[in-house]
């Protein structure tokens, strides 16, 4: 395979990979979630559908609607 074609192929593959990572990250950010930050510095994140998020998100919706 000529080196030019090889470089093009590698660049296309890298671009596709970066694009898919960006799309997945953006999709993950669009999900509703609740993050707890504890006094000891630890953090717990709960996406919609979990017990924690389903209890807190309606309160947040009410506050944002007001």
């Amino acid at each position: 395979m000529p080196p030019r074609k090889l470089v093009t192929g590698v660049l296309l593959a890298a671009g596709s990979l970066a694009g898919s990572v960006l799309v997945r990250r953006r999709a993950a950010r669009r999900r509703e979630r609740v993050d707890f930050y504890a006094e000891d510095g630890s953090m717990h994140s709960f996406s919609e559908g979990t017990v924690e998020a389903d209890r807190l998100l309606p309160i947040a919706h009410d506050l944002l609607r007001a």
């Binding site: 609740v34 930050y37 017990v51 209890r55 309160i59 947040a60 919706h61």
Partner: protein, 135 residues
């Protein structure tokens, strides 16, 4: 911010430096709103009550919560605790989380807390004066 300021000034500074922040309420140790950028007292109380509900629910599930973010598609609600006091804020969708937490903590810590009244000194006992006069 170097010194302590009143709540309204601190909130004005916060909303000026952080355009992502919309509504803010500072909740005093007694649980009542101690300052806000909301003009309506009922709206201040609603945000304060909602923030307290969020913290109580979080505390019931995971004890030791110091701060939290509830992120929705319409925006986020942040609550930060500092001792007995709290600050709650709503933001635009997808805010810069670390920056908002930092600004809220800075705002809360810059607000002067009401000082406890100094204890009155007791008047010297009259008995001693009488003893001195006798000697």
């Amino acid at each position: 911010m170097l010194g302590f300021v009143d709540a309204q000034q601190a909130i004005a500074d916060l909303t000026e430096i952080s355009p992502q922040v919309r509504d803010v309420v500072v909740i005093g140790a007694d649980g009542a709103p101690a300052g806000s950028n909301l003009d309506d007292a009922a709206a201040q109380q609603r945000l304060a009550d909602g923030a307290k509900q969020l913290v109580e629910a979080a505390e019931a599930m995971r004890p030791g919560v110091a701060q939290l973010e509830a992120a929705t598609l319409a925006g986020s609600v942040f609550v930060v605790r500092d001792g007995e006091r709290m600050i709650a804020a709503t933001t635009t969708p997808e805010p810069t989380v670390g920056l908002v937490f930092y600004d809220l903590k800075t705002c809360l810590r810059s607000i002067e807390q009401p000082k406890p009244k100094p204890a009155r000194r007791r008047a010297p006992a009259k008995k001693k004066e009488a003893e001195d006069a006798a000697s």
